[in-house]
Symmetry: C2
Subunit: 283 residues, 2 copies
């Protein structure tokens, strides 16, 4: 079991991971990609104190370099579920699971609002994790709503299992090789069903399915952690970056405005210190 599970590789995640290491805590640092896409894409950052007029690409580089120079590197994995097991937490990422005493959520704010029915049917036919739940739909009819080209190999895996496979690529230049994939160029608007999900509804029609896989890197915090206090899309934290769930902390854009790199880095530091203090008080 790790002392800390840190999720996200933006400024908050990097800062939390560096401090986990310096605080001599065991940690697993999980991120959907090794550096933050949002940081990389910034044109010019003028207010990260000490690094004047730095491009996003440069800032992402120095963050990564700083962490690497300390032997701190993220494991690439999309965390699709965090479960409170009474005193410890289980995290599911790409079909593997991890246990940690504390969790630091550095999720950013890119998470699209879940569609109608998405949270309702999660675990009842809707899954965020192909490798976790794919086998449940062997020989059945599935729909895959894919938000990023990086997950096309998961589409292929799912199509290899399913009898029928309907794919909604939500990005440009898709290249889906599975023979049985039926591409639908529509944006899903909601999920419908009864006790379980039954239909992916889009403008002008719907697709029936036994299971629906939604492949995306940014899952909304409330969906990721059952019972987490979220207001206006932001995780509610106190001055110590503690959430309403003891042992879960949050830092960076996911905790609210201003969406600023140094604010995020500062909160990552605070969250790591708070998590260390929480662990020290565990008994």
């Amino acid at each position: 079991m790790y002392d800390m599970a840190i999720i996200g590789a933006g400024p908050a995640g990097v800062s939390a991971a560096i401090n986990a290491k310096l605080l001599n805590k065991s940690y697993i640092w999980l991120a959907s990609r090794p550096t933050s896409k949002k940081v990389e894409r910034a044109e010019l950052i003028k207010n990260y104190p000490g690094l004047p007029d730095i491009t996003g690409e440069q800032l992402a580089f120095v963050f990564r370099h700083h962490a690497e120079s300390m032997g701190v590197e993220p494991s690439v994995g999309v965390v699709t579920g965090i479960y409170d097991l009474d005193g410890k937490f289980a995290l599911l990422a790409d079909g593997r699971d991890y246990e940690a005493k504390t969790v630091i959520l550095c999720l950013g704010v890119e998470a699209a609002k879940p569609l109608e029915g998405e949270e309702q049917f999660l675990g009842r036919g809707i899954s965020y994790c192909a490798t976790c739940d794919g086998m449940l739909y062997k020989g059945k009819k599935i729909a895959v709503v894919c938000h990023d080209k990086r997950y096309e190999h998961e589409i292929e895996y799912l199509c290899s299992l399913a009898a029928e496979c309907y794919v909604f690529p939500m990005y440009q230049n898709y290249d889906i090789k599975a023979q049985n994939a039926k591409i639908i160029l529509k944006n899903p608007v909601k999920y419908e069903g009864d006790m379980r999900v039954r239909r992916v509804v889009y403008k002008g029609g719907f697709t029936e399915a036994d299971g629906v896989f939604i492949l995306k890197s940014a899952i909304s915090p409330a969906t990721l952690v059952h019972g987490l206090n979220v207001e206006g899309g932001h995780i509610v934290v106190d001055r110590n970056c503690a959430t309403n769930i003891a042992g879960i902390f949050a830092a960076g854009d996911c905790t609210g405005r201003p969406y600023q790199y140094v604010k995020a880095a500062g909160e990552g530091n605070v969250a790591a210190h708070s998590a260390a203090e929480y662990i020290a008080n565990l008994k």
Copy 2:
């Protein structure tokens, strides 16, 4: 009148000042010295993300360089009083006064706890400002408790006015040239008086005085701002770095632990954004 008055040149102050400029606000940035002594003295900082293994001296340099590259420079001055004038604030620094719509306190935590009687007699014989109040004691008997060699010229000014001048140098290698200065090598422990201060008490004795000047760069926040909510020596702020007084914000070590450079820089950013929002809502 300035939009923002920023006090302090540590990471929080630099960050607030940079953002005041970028947010296109008018500001006065006041600090007792151009860079933070605390930052400069740090041996090696390993957790300021993006700048691995940097010495305190280097970090102070890059902070100063960043600000200067944007034409942002502090005015050197010790702020000895902040007054809430119903919708605006007056600041007194080295005998000059400034007006601002908002104040961002980035005071650090170096402030020594005030001695017994210090707050009680402030404005009733005790003063933090030689140039403001010196003339009131022309031809009288004064005591000067000086915490830093940099203020020796103020001792000389005060001695030039007073009939009798008792000086408590609270540092090494003092060099006080005033002919009438009577040096007392004792640490004051409290101030006593009736309606006004009358005595500086030290272990084994006391010195009588009509006025007492306490010359130091770090004045406790509660002393600086009447009515400011302070707990355990830290200014109480919310997630937006707002204090209990509308229009006054605080950032950095003065708001509490962890005492970390990037936490302070992050809060300076947040405080500047909050102050800008406050100004926008002023009407």
